[in-house]
């Protein structure tokens, strides 16, 4: 009996190894694990949660879902192909996540590339955007990696799908601007999963692969990252547990509704309604603080709102409407609505060369117009310019 158990255990181990080996040969583990990038692009970081690995060479996913778009990062972990030796000024791009990062695009197809190549004044345009990273984490990365190396004339801050509520965490903004602070994930789906899933199970944020925080995944670590079978089995268990919990939750809520007992959901809605105005003030505080921060260093700030599709569009509309009059911003959605339809939004900066070019050239033209304006000039509509004489010039 024991002999039989040992025999079949050894056969099982051998079979697992064969299956793992075969899958690794014929499959891209990164596709199976629904990653955005090939392995090791993320390096855990105690205060920033993760950073992109410096001098990384790997692949991104093409729009056909094969991992066949080459990706190279510089010694800061940024996507910055060759600098312009004849540059007369530096410009920095912050935020914009995967869109400004240029996920799924060659270096010569990104929005960053088109901005750089359409400026009247030769400039080094530093792209500090990272896929899957919100604007503030991006800002902290810029502070750590580049701020002390360059003196940019213009900082372009991109908003892409930013949630109004997420600005609450920046409420002690002056402290955060001076020091790094660990940024928690505020995606509501992941919050739900975190609360629902016990420490027994695994956790990964969307398709961006981060250090697992809980239970077995934290202990197996390497195997979870690199074993297709362990990763798949754990995710399947994860999903099954989550779905069962959701069913239980829905049944429970239904029972409460039938019995007419007030639920947490109702209370949450009231709470949310109560703090709606406060969310706005956090956002406005953030905008003013960022602007003051850079203007304190004699650097001009330009905010750009990138087209955001689907359910997140309402966040975009919300925060655009809250923009203070005293800052410069571009509403791409409004400016280019005739050239880019809403169903094309997700393609921009990701898979569509045409749209990247349109947006890149448009932003470059706006930057050029700031450069060429005199003290009394003013551009109309959504690209608002205020007090040009008092604002820092972006020419050298």
């Amino acid at each position: 009996m024991i002999k039989s158990i040992v025999k079949y255990t050894l056969i099982s181990v051998f079979s697992i190894l064969i299956a793992e080996g075969f899958l690794n040969l014929v499959y891209s583990p990164t596709i199976l694990m629904s990653k955005w990038f090939t392995s090791n692009i993320h390096t855990p970081d105690s205060s920033l949660y993760y950073i992109f690995t410096p001098n990384y060479r790997g692949w991104m996913r093409h729009k056909d879902k094969t991992f066949l778009k080459r990706l190279t990062l510089d010694n800061n972990g940024f996507r910055n192909p060759a600098m312009n030796s004849a540059a007369e000024r530096d410009i920095v791009l912050i935020g914009g996540a995967s869109m400004i990062f240029g996920y799924g695009m060659e270096d010569s197809e990104t929005i960053h590339y088109h901005i750089k190549n359409n400026l009247d004044l030769p400039s080094n345009v530093f792209n500090t955007a990272w896929a899957g990273t919100n604007i503030h984490r991006n800002f902290l990365v810029y502070k750590r990696k580049l701020e002390n190396q360059i003196n940019p004339k213009l900082i372009i801050c991109f908003f892409y799908g930013e949630n109004l509520k997420s600005f609450k965490e920046y409420k002690n903004i002056s402290n955060i601007l001076r020091e790094e602070k660990q940024i928690q994930d505020t995606s509501s789906i992941i919050e739900d999963k975190k609360k629902t899933i016990d420490k027994l199970f695994f956790y990964s944020r969307d398709q961006v692969f981060l250090e697992p925080q809980y239970g077995i995944a934290k202990r197996v670590g390497y195997l979870y990252y690199n074993s297709i079978i362990i990763h798949s089995l754990s995710n399947n268990l994860d999903d099954l547990y989550f779905r069962v919990s959701q069913i239980k939750k829905k049944l429970f809520e239904y029972a409460l509704t039938v019995l007419k007992i007030p639920t947490d959901q109702n209370k949450k809605v009231e709470l949310n309604a109560g703090i709606k105005l406060s969310d706005s003030s956090f956002f406005v505080d953030y905008i003013n603080s960022i602007t003051s921060y850079f203007e304190g260093k004699n650097q001009r700030v330009l905010f750009v709102f990138l087209p955001t599709p689907g359910a997140e569009k309402r966040y975009y509309d919300e925060i655009v409407s809250l923009m203070p009059n005293s800052v410069d911003y571009i509403d791409i959605n409004k400016e280019l609505h005739e050239k880019i339809k809403e169903n094309e939004f997700i393609a921009i900066g990701h898979y569509s060369k045409k749209h990247s070019e349109i947006i890149g050239k448009f932003i470059a033209s706006k930057v050029n117009s700031i450069t060429s304006q005199n003290c009394n000039g003013q551009v109309k509509s959504s690209f608002s310019m205020h007090s040009k004489c008092s604002r820092q010039s972006i020419t050298p």
Binding site: Y8, I11, S232
Partner: protein, 477 residues
């Protein structure tokens, strides 16, 4: 409801549990058949419930016609019934599948000869499996007419023959002489049936999920980016497509075979290691066997078959293959693919009929000759798959140009070549072993430890990889 979905798994567990339960009842065959008919209609309705009325209409009409054909003694009357039945069936098939193709082709022709006739196409849904069950119905009525079978009086049995869910949407196209007796008679499920059924289902899932779905992404990449990738990638994409279409179709067929076997029903084997074919004729004895035999029995033989002059035989072959190509889809590339295979068959027949031997093969060791033939046939098949895959034939010159003038190594060649190469070698290796041993179930003949390991590997791989349910390619036919 595709076979690789959770929904189907739950559906099958419920149906199979009831099916086994009915074994304990007195009228087990009757209840089982009723259960299977209802389950089959539920299965079909899951695709589109509105089109259920279509299959029901076809079933009722052909049930009545085949009984009329059988009961009528008057030959002329028999023929009238047969022609009417075939006309209705093909009429429905034409309407749903070929009408828009006909309109578009007509408009194109008018435009090119300078006439300004333009007809609008209609918004028609293509019913899933219509090509398969229509051919199955036609085989039934023709066999009845030819007195090869006695049609059944039992409507439930007939309905089950037409709509049996494992083979309803993508074959195999079953002859009544094979399937109907199994439906009508009492069934037994032995341990051997269960063992074979599980084996075929496992193999089917492996071919679909591990081979076909994986190759699909490389096929998509290489064919969508002909202008920007090298000829090496284009060629690799074509090899990947040969694996994809085999894995997809054979995978489905094996799952259908396995599910039926679990119920004590034997369906026709639809694939027999097609990439080991040594000639075009051999290929069509190994690829989509049920369609190949249908084309032979109901088209080729009806046209006169081989019992005519050589020229007439070649004409019959070409016509059969062109119609066979068109069966796959209402598109010029399928027609061209059929024509191409017709050409290959005619060429083989010419070599045989006029006893011509290709000079360079005369003095070669037989086993080496066989290997050369297999390689040559595979390459010829690849050319056919190119025509099959390119729905836009205007891309054909670009593809050819890419392969012949842009054939160089690029950064992404190795990441693409590795999975395709390994998949190809594993599949062909397994087929070679099966071919040499002359036994497809060679794995089940091994010691139980080996079988345990085999199933562990298969199940782990299938569970690990089955994240998305990708539709079967042949569903579109």
């Amino acid at each position: 409801m595709i076979f690789t979905s959770i929904k189907f798994l739950i559906f099958f567990i419920v149906v199979y549990s009831l099916y086994i339960f009915f074994f304990k009842t007195k009228k087990d065959v009757h209840y089982q058949n009723l259960l299977l008919v209802i389950a089959s209609y539920i299965f079909y309705a899951a695709w589109n419930y509105k089109l259920l009325s279509l299959i029901l209409f076809s079933t009722i009409i052909n049930y009545l016609f085949s009984l009329s054909i059988y009961k009528t003694k008057n030959k002329k009357q028999k023929k009238t019934y047969l022609i009417t039945s075939i006309t209705i069936n093909l009429g429905l098939l034409f309407f749903f599948k070929y009408l828009n193709f006909g309109i578009e082709s007509f408009n194109y022709l008018m435009e090119n000869i300078g006439l300004n006739a333009h007809f609008s196409t209609l918004s028609i849904i293509l019913p899933v499996g219509i090509s398969f069950y229509t051919f199955q119905i036609i085989s039934y009525t023709v066999d009845t007419y030819r007195d090869e079978i006695k049609p059944t009086n039992n409507f439930v049995n007939f309905a089950l023959y037409i709509s049996f869910f494992p083979q309803l949407v993508a074959g195999p196209i079953e002859k009544a002489s094979n399937l109907l007796p199994q439906i009508t008679n009492k069934r037994n499920i032995t341990r051997n049936d269960i063992s074979k059924g599980i084996y075929w289902i496992t193999i089917g899932y492996f071919k679909k999920i591990i081979i076909a779905d994986n190759m699909a992404q490389y096929v998509e990449y290489s064919f969508q980016n002909l202008e920007s990738t090298s000829g090496v990638i284009s060629l690799l994409g074509l090899v990947a497509f040969s694996l994809q279409i085999y894995g997809d179709f054979a995978g489905y067929s094996y799952i259908a075979l396995g599910i039926s076997k679990l119920m004590g029903i034997d369906l026709t084997k639809n694939f027999n290691r097609p990439y080991l074919a040594i000639s075009p004729r051999d290929f069509w004895r190994r690829w989509h066997i049920s369609l190949s035999f249908w084309l032979r029995d109901y088209l080729y033989f009806s046209f006169g078959g081989g019992r005519v002059s050589n020229f007439r035989k070649y004409y019959n072959l070409m016509l059969t293959m062109v119609l066979g190509g068109l069966w796959h889809g209402a598109s010029w590339n399928f027609l061209l693919w059929g024509w191409y295979h017709g050409l290959l068959l005619i060429f083989e027949h010419i070599l045989r009929d006029y006893r011509i031997s290709l000079p360079f093969t005369l003095r070669i060791y037989p086993k080496v000759k066989r290997v050369m033939k297999i390689i040559a046939m595979y390459l010829l098949t690849l050319i056919g798959w190119l025509l099959f895959r390119l729905s836009d034939l205007s891309m054909l010159p670009l593809y050819v140009k890419n392969v012949f003038t842009n054939f160089h190594y690029t950064d992404n060649c190795l990441p693409i070549a590795t999975p395709i190469g390994i998949t190809f070698l594993c599949l062909i290796g397994l087929h070679i072993i099966q071919e040499i041993k002359g036994n497809e179930m060679i794995i089940l003949k091994q010691p139980k430890e080996f079988i345990y390991s085999f199933y562990t590997i298969m199940i782990l791989m299938i569970i690990s990889v089955s994240g998305k349910t990708v539709p079967f390619l042949y569903f579109q036919f």
